[in-house]
């Protein structure tokens, strides 16, 4: 048993090391196309419902995509500046990523809060169920239950 335990320990160590190694590895430098894709994935097509510019083939999306490509190619603006350029022209409904501030941030905060709160509820439920335990049974209890089990088995076999 001791060996099993040490094997498990070794396994966890190995996985940890490999994960750290994998996390520190990078996928090569970002190309312009990667930047364009990253930006357009976060922008909503203004004429469709819910699709991103990256997904949508609507004419307006094509225009915005080529504008993003133009600005990326010119190299004058950062990704955030390009996103905010588009946002200032088309309004807040083109931001697919809800904002971090104001009422909008609720859409991020509520699920997280709900998760933590439900985990807490689950935890209290567990502890409540466990504290319900009465003390160990007396001999009389054992006899009563044995009798009941026997009765039940008889009634079922009929």
């Amino acid at each position: 048993m001791k060996t099993r335990r040490s094997i498990w320990l070794a396994m966890f160590l190995l996985v940890g090391v490999l994960l750290v190694f994998g996390a520190s590895r990078s996928g090569g430098p970002l190309t312009q196309q990667d930047r364009i894709d990253a930006i357009t994935l976060n922008l909503a097509c203004p004429t469709c419902s819910g699709e991103s510019i990256y997904v949508s083939r609507a004419p307006a999306s094509e225009s915005i995509r080529s504008e993003v490509a133009r600005q990326v190619a010119s190299g004058l603006r950062t990704d955030d500046e390009i996103v905010s350029y588009i946002e200032q022209r088309f309004g807040g409904q083109v931001l697919l990523v809800p904002r971090a501030s104001g009422v909008d941030s609720l859409v991020w905060a509520l699920p997280v809060a709900a998760l933590i709160f439900s985990a807490f509820l689950l935890f209290t439920a567990f502890s409540k169920w466990r504290t319900n335990k009465p003390t160990s049974p007396t001999l009389e209890d054992e006899q009563i239950v044995a009798q009941a089990l026997k009765n039940q088995a008889e009634s079922e076999s009929k």
């Binding site: 225009s63 504008e67 022209r89």
Partner: protein
């Protein structure tokens, strides 16, 4: 348990309320972050190859009409634009009308204007740069820019009769240069 169900009940009721009140609204005079801001500096050429730079039109009232020859509301409102252009000719402080071609070929636009009239400049907009600069997602849209180069009005959708003249005159009085 009861508290949780009460919470769920309240949330559902609120959701229901939101769904009941949610109704798409449609205004002809649309909002835009650009209103009251300097117009984006855009430059292109007309379909006849003349250069066009919006900045250089400061000093005039400018009306930009985003247009596509296959879009039905654009076709419907065309006569109103022709009328507007003619009526502006008489005005000393005449507004200049420009058509910005949206996702359409120059030939189709030329053909459309020969058939339906309209001699004002037609500006090409390759890749939709101008449309994006103004945040135009769907044609037709009409924009009014004052002589100081400030965006004053955005109209989405088809124009109604007299709307454009009325708005331009109102703005001219409001923002006397």
């Amino acid at each position: 348990m009861k508290i949780v169900s009460a919470c769920v009940g309240v949330v559902v009721a609120l959701l229901f309320l939101v769904l009941v009140v949610s109704e798409p609204d449609q205004d002809i005079v649309a909002k835009s972050p650009l209103l009251g801001q300097p117009a984006p500096s855009v430059a292109s050429t007309t379909i006849d190859g003349e250069p066009f730079a919006l900045e250089r039109r400061k000093g005039s009232w400018v009306v930009l009409n985003f247009f596509n020859s296959t879009c039905v509301p654009c076709i419907n409102e065309h006569d109103l634009l022709v009328e507007f252009a003619a009526s502006e000719l008489a005005n000393a402080n005449a507004a200049e009308l420009y058509t910005i071609i949206n996702d359409d070929s120059s030939d189709a636009v030329r053909e459309f204007f020969t058939k339906n009239g309209g001699t004002w400049p037609k500006i090409t907009d390759d890749n939709g740069t101008i449309a994006v600069a103004f945040g135009v997602a769907r044609v037709p849209e009409t924009w009014i820019i004052d002589p100081n180069g400030i965006v004053r009005l955005r109209i989405t959708g088809e124009l109604s009769a007299g709307l454009l003249t009325e708005q331009v005159n109102r703005l001219r009085e409001e923002f006397v240069s």
